[in-house]
């Protein structure tokens, strides 16, 4: 399991635009570098990131070898209802790591 850091607001007003931050510790090995033995170091990157809000995908991104180690992704979504935000990262081996956070959305709409 890679180390992750996530920041999802615990509370929000209905209709509020909220910012979500996600960082995963990952080498993002490009596949273009050679090791000390002269052989290519195999590519090993996170190639897919996705965020679901109560099961519905609200944001996703394809990542490529040019993206830095320890990719840090920030995006916004609209807080519609209380529930669960799930963030998932998928690497080249097909392993997916998922982190979740609860968000409580108040009854009063954002003015």
């Amino acid at each position: 399991m890679a180390r992750t850091l996530i920041n999802v607001p615990a509370t929000a007003k209905r209709g509020e635009v909220v910012e979500i931050k996600a960082l995963i510790s990952h080498p993002m090995e490009t596949g273009f570098r050679t090791g000390s033995d002269g052989a290519l170091i195999p590519r090993d990157i996170i190639h897919r990131f996705a965020c679901t809000y109560n099961g519905e995908e609200v944001f996703s991104a394809d990542l490529f070898p040019a993206i830095t180690a320890n990719p840090f992704i920030t995006f916004t979504t609209v807080a519609e209802e209380s529930g669960e935000i799930a963030l998932s990262w998928t690497d080249d081996q097909g392993n997916t790591q998922t982190e979740t956070a609860k968000i409580t959305v108040g009854q009063d709409p954002v003015e």
Partner: protein, 427 residues
Amino acid sequence: MTPWNPNRRAVLKTLTAATVTVTASAALSRPVHAQGAARVVVIGGGFAGGTAARFLKGHGLDVTLVEPNPTYTACPLSNSVVAGLRSLDRQTFGYDGLRRAGVTVVHQRASKVDAEARRVTLGDGVALDYDRLVLAPGIDMNFGALPGYDDKAAEIMPHAWKAGPQTTLLARQLEAMEDGGVVVMSVPANPYRCPPGPYERASLIAHYLKTRKPRSKLIVLDAKDSFSKQRLFQAAWEKLYPGLLEWVSLSSGGQVTSVDPASLTLVTDFDRVKAAVANVIPPQKAASIAALAEVADRTGWCPIDPVTFESRLRPGIHVIGDAAIAGAMPKSAFAANAQAKVCAAAVATLLRGEKPAAPKLINTCYSLVAPDYGISVAGVYAPSDGRLADVEGAGGTSPLDAPASFRAKEAVYAESWFDTITAEVFG
């Protein structure tokens, strides 16, 4: 003698090679009128400006140094003042030595630079005409780059990144803190003044806490994942300050994105950290006169020619020291001193209508991780593809494995270096 990194010998060899004088000649720039020496104005009386003024005078030029403050407070070793190990008086130098060397010192702020007319206007309205201008203004805090942080906030959360009252303020706050308090430091991304400086400061604050307030803790929030002399620092921290000093890297969420002075809180992308004492080292930029003279670019720093240190944006103006973009060279007092000597020689050569030859420059930085534990890094630099680049195979750092006696010697060398350079500039 203790075995030393062989790279250090390469440094010394290159040093000798670099002192060979330049004799190339080519008709360049406009020749200076015959009567009287050419006039050079130097703005800023720190390590870069002070050295430049002295060496320009040594080249027989008419030199005026413009510096608003009557004394200079040096940054190197000021982390020892923060940790209560040294008095600020020992960091303070006057300008009488430069006057004795024949430099005209004017304690005014430069308020305007007219590159077309080759004229500097001072705060009192006096105008100084120059044949060439050397800008060595140092840094300003880039307050706009860290929300919540400004001059007023710095009175509560000191940066202490310009030595003087800020240094004293941080030292007093540490003294006044109760045992068990959490000290939080914020370190910016590159480039900034003195790359290993924050880690020396962290070390010496940790030393202060260990010896005086052992229940306390130091958290270092960093906008970087790697830093100068990192392996040496981290090995020393593990040995000297286990459990006391926590370094939080960029990829561990260490980048401070805003501060709240009212609650002494530092905000990162993932956390809010409350401090008993907060030392906020903000992002920086070339001091404001650089922007006024239109020699700073969008980065806030000054692009220069690596042979002459002449501005890429305004001919006739040279920029040295922390304000300049000097490629691989760090922003340090040693580098500023080396650049000033090269720049002074280049200015004298240009004023004779000749073409300066490519220089080699050297930097060495000592850091203390405890009062009797010093480490160092050295580098050699030469112009390459229009920038100052590292000379491959030269330079290096202190060995990772070394006896305590070796570290103790390097701590002595640090102080000797300081005495030597300040005597050369201000003596």
